[in-house]
Amino acid sequence: MVPSRVGAKSVYCARGITKIYRMGEVEVHALRGVDLDLFEGEFVVLLGPSGSGKSTLLNILGGLDVPTAGHVSYRGKDLTSNDDALLTGYRRRHVGFVFQFYNLIPSLTAKENVALVTEIAQNPMRPEEALEMVNLGHRLDHFPAQLSGGEQQRVAIARAIAKRPDVLLCDEPTGALDIETGIVVLEVIERVNRELGTTTAVITHNAAIAGMADRVISVASGRISHVKTNQHKQQPRELQW
């Protein structure tokens, strides 16, 4: 089952992805033959309970992991070869990551955390600009230890988008935040998707977030169980959980 979007170009094309982990003596089938396409500019939520395989899918799309079987390509380029330099280059040029626990560098200020990425990017924003976008223009010189969780996550988003990535991959971006802060963070992600046209994939186990997506892909037991296209996208403010 391959959902399609008329007129939009496919960014990712995954066919028959299988991922088997070996945990000690046990084989874990994280993904069991997943077919998936993501299209330019769309906002996708990958929804599923923990252990469903959604993170594994995101890791493979982000070039952090390669499938055991199957094929994934990004704009026609193969992501399944286990070539570290190639995958690093891919992440460096095309992907912005947002993590559940922010993963900021504690020894660098907000601005410097963003600059860390812009220094190695080809056509980046200024770090200040990226931080403005996440409404942190006034906290440029604060260290992570001086910022709240929500602020840290916004810095992480600024860091992810500052290089103007083609895709923004967010792994439980609100998982460590309270509702109010979570909504602020989702607003920022939505704004980036809308204003910069960055293809965005958010994985979450929180069904409420699905309302703001163009498409909601439900994952269960290593398979895509359901795909739903939202006719009416909700604003983050309208979400409730």
Partner: protein, 773 residues
């Protein structure tokens, strides 16, 4: 943590090893010396005279405190040894023919004691016999009063007087060119026209004797017979060298092990801090279950003890091996009947106590901090690290730093003490290499100075007694002699205030070309017309400075007493010495224009001919060939040093690797998550390696100059310890030593960097996304 604990084990092992090495050498040497001296009844007082009738012995024996007396004839002669062109010096010592000597008993290594009425029989010292492959039955030719006399070796012997077989005035023992021969007293007295007379006295004392009093009484009795001044065992040359070595071992034996144990304590502190940080939640859980603080502290302490025990065991093995090595080396220098390796129990216990104490001191603070956390607090992860802009940035140098460099600088600045200690640890390995190698540099420098700048002669000849220059005409015109410089050595006592030293004044020509005197800057100084030139060591022992007037008591001839000003000081690294214008000296001696030494510059083509002639010259007491001295010195001392330096280098590598590797592994453990995040963001392996290894590089770069400074500092301490009347070792560190110290540490740093780099290449990028530290 295995690798790290193993590295710490190795550092402890080095500390224990060096401790065991020096302490076992110390125990072995002291014990052997003590017991040998006792068994052989080594004399306590020594003196010599020009010639005294045996009847004088009666007065000597009556000195209160004297328990045993031995009157002997001792003479140095030229030896002609088969297979050696140059002459050797033989010291002939008389021994009773019917019984073994009461003092300074001889230990027979092989053969038998001399038989009465066999005037040609002699016992030969072991060193000389070994060098020339002499065994009982072989013959050696001695030139006695111009006549060749065949000595038949009947036994190979050792004497407590010649454990360190060095001739006065020589820098190092030269077993090839200096041999001791014990002969029957009847035969020896006859050969030197000393029948009914003696020229050497050895005394043993009762336990309640006052040695200083005995020395004074003996001097009073021997003075009319050309007494050269009595000395106690303390000043006996062989004993002095061994005792110096023992006191050096005592002092030096603590420096190097101390360094290692300091480093080990630091490393244990760092590693244990990290382990405890990672196990915070487990500690909290255990405490929540009701484990006491003591139980938890004991748990971590046990780990420390295991590491110490492993290090101790390995160190014990290494130390024993090295201790035996040292003993082996000693047997080349010190001739004892047997020199046994000893490992006293108190040394083993001592090494364990010291290493365990240092390890516990290094970790007790960390353990205390960990167990005193309330369980609820310990259950929470450690609060995020606080950072602030570095001094560098506050000075406005921001734009100079990339973000990755900023991470390095801020990490170093956040924990300055840890960074400082890591640097100090690496620096210590630099300093250990310098410490282990500077002695070779110093000796090279000394050889160069002594044999190229100061002593420029090829051969120096000493005569049996002073002669007028004209009587030595023959010698000045021997084959191959290019230049001669006569001199006169006069034995004296120099006194200033209540300080007194027995030395010789060397009378030199006005402008000596073959024996240069140099000042502290190694520049030659002119010998003044009158007045004394003495070396700085003698000056400091007597407490004199330029212009002071010293009292000179001549120990020869008419034994006059003079008051002479100190005209200048010279810097010398060997012995105590005094110089004077030869003519001024002769004027004071009032016995004519006499000389008793001649320095020769020789055309090497005619060398062998000259040696042959010298062997046959009756007036010659001894011939010293400079080249041979240098060679024998290099052969023995330098070779042995190289062996020890190899171990030293290994030790330094252990420290350097131990510190850098541990620092790197800890940094990796602390920052793995951060670095993996950066990899996810698209930084390459090289870029994240730069952050971690860059920090190590900064610490190493900082450590190198620090280590060089420390090396010089420790070297200075060691040279101060080695500053004795016999020799002074200058602190010389060659560029080669410096570059080696730096490169060894750099290689160790790079090697540990590579090990860590391999780990960086295998960071788990996925795990970091899902975990919070």
């Amino acid at each position: 943590m295995w690798g790290q604990l193993l590295a710490i084990c190795a550092v402890i092992a080095c500390g224990v090893g060096t401790f065991i090495m020096t302490q076992s050498a110390l125990a072995g040497l002291s014990f052997t010396q003590q017991s040998y001296y006792e068994q052989s009844r080594f004399a306590r007082v020594f003196s010599n005279v020009k010639r005294a009738p045996l009847s004088v012995g009666k007065y000597i024996a009556e000195i209160p405190g004297v328990s045993q007396m031995q009157l002997r004839v001792v003479r140095d002669v030229t030896l002609d040894v088969t297979g050696m062109t140059e002459p050797a010096v033989g010291r002939l010592i008389s021994v009773p023919e019917h019984s073994a000597p009461a003092l300074n008993a001889l230990y027979l290594r092989s053969g038998r004691y001399i038989e009465p009425n066999s005037p040609d029989e002699a016992l030969c010292s072991e060193g000389f016999a070994k060098m020339h492959g002499l065994k009982p039955g072989d013959k050696v030719t001695a030139i006695i009063n111009g006549r060749r006399k065949e000595l038949e070796i009947v036994g190979i012997a050792l004497s407590p007087e010649y454990v360190y077989q060095i001739r006065a005035g020589q820098l190092v023992p030269d077993d090839t060119r200096f041999g001791i021969f014990w002969m029957g007293e009847v035969a020896l007295s006859a050969a030197f026209d000393m029948q009914g007379a003696f020229n050497d006295i050895c005394l043993d004392l009762t336990s309640d004797a006052n040695e200083a009093e005995v020395l004074r009484s003996l001097d009073r009795i021997t003075r009319p017979y050309g007494g050269m001044g009595a000395r106690g065992r303390r000043d006996q040359i062989s004993n002095k060298f061994i005792s110096d070595e023992i006191s050096n071992l005592k002092r030096m034996g603590l420096i190097v092990p101390g360094i290692f144990l300091l480093v080990a304590a630091f490393l244990l502190n760092v590693v244990l801090s990290r382990i405890i940080a990672l196990q915070r939640d487990q500690i909290a859980a255990l405490k929540a279950f009701g484990y006491s603080n003591l139980a938890i502290a004991w748990h971590y302490l046990k780990m420390v003890i295991v590491v110490v025990l492993c290090g101790e065991l390995i160190g014990l093995g290494v130390g024993c091996m090295l201790g035996m090595q040292i003993m082996n080396l000693y047997t080349k220098f010190y001739r004892f009947p047997s020199l046994v390796f000893m490992l006293p129990m108190h040394v083993v216990l001592g090494s364990f106590t010291v290493s365990a104490t240092s390890a516990i001191l290094g970790t007790v603070g960390v353990i205390h901090k960990a167990v005193s956390l309330p369980p609820a607090e310990a259950m929470r992860p450690e609060p995020p690290a606080s950072f602030r802009p570095t001094i560098f940035e506050r000075l406005g140098l921001n734009s100079w730093l990339s973000q990755t460099s900023r991470i390095i600088v801020r990490n170093i600045e956040r924990r300055p003490f840890k960074a400082m200690f890591s640097s100090l640890g690496i620096a210590l390995s630099v300093s250990i290499i310098i410490l282990g190698h500077f002695s070779t540099d110093s000796l090279n420098f000394l050889l160069e100075l002594q044999f190229q700048v100061v002593q420029r002669q090829h051969v120096s000849v000493a005569f049996v007694e002073p002669y007028s220059l004209s009587a030595l005409y023959e010698l000045q015109h021997m084959p191959g002699v290019i230049r001669t410089e006569p001199g006169r050595m006069v034995g004296i006592k120099m006194r200033f205030g209540h300080h007194e030293r027995r030395v010789a004044i060397a009378g030199l020509q006005m402008n000596p070309q073959l024996s240069h005197l140099v000042d502290a800057e190694e520049l030659p100084i002119r010998l003044p017309e009158a007045g004394l030139v003495i070396n700085t060591k003698l000056a400091s022992l007597l407490g004199v400075k330029r212009g002071d007037i010293v009292t000179i008591e001549v120990l020869e001839g008419a034994q006059p007493t003079w008051q002479i000003p100190i005209a200048a000081l010279v810097t010398e690294h060997f012995g105590l010495s005094a110089y004077m214008n030869l003519h001024a000296l002769n004027r004071l001696m009032k016995d004519g224009d006499l000389v008793n030494t001649i320095q020769l510059l020789v055309d090497q083509k005619h060398r062998d001919e000259l040696y042959k002639k010298l062997k046959e010259t009756p007036k010659v007491a001894s011939v010293t060939i400079k080249e041979a001295s240098i060679r024998s010195f290099r052969e023995t001392v330098m070779e042995n040093m190289l062996q020890m330096q190899f171990f030293n280098l290994m030790f330094a590598c252990v420290i350097a690797f131990g510190v850098v590797y541990n620092t790197a592994r800890i940094a990796l453990s602390e920052r793995g998550r951060e670095l993996a995040s950066l990899r996810v963001l698209g930084l390459t392996r090289g870029e994240i390696s730069f952050i971690l290894l860059g920090e190590l590089a900064v610490l190493t770069l900082f450590a190198i100059p620090l280590g060089i400074l420390l090396g010089f500092g420790l070297g200075k301490i060691v040279t101060t310890f080695l500053d004795t009347e016999l020799y002074r070792i200058p602190l010389v560190v060659s560029p080669k030593t410096l570059s080696m110290a730096v490169s060894v540490v750099a290689v160790a740093a790079v090697a540990s960097g590579l090990v860590v780099r391999r780990k960086l290449d295998h960071l788990d990028l996925i795990a970091v996304l899902k975990t919070r530290e």
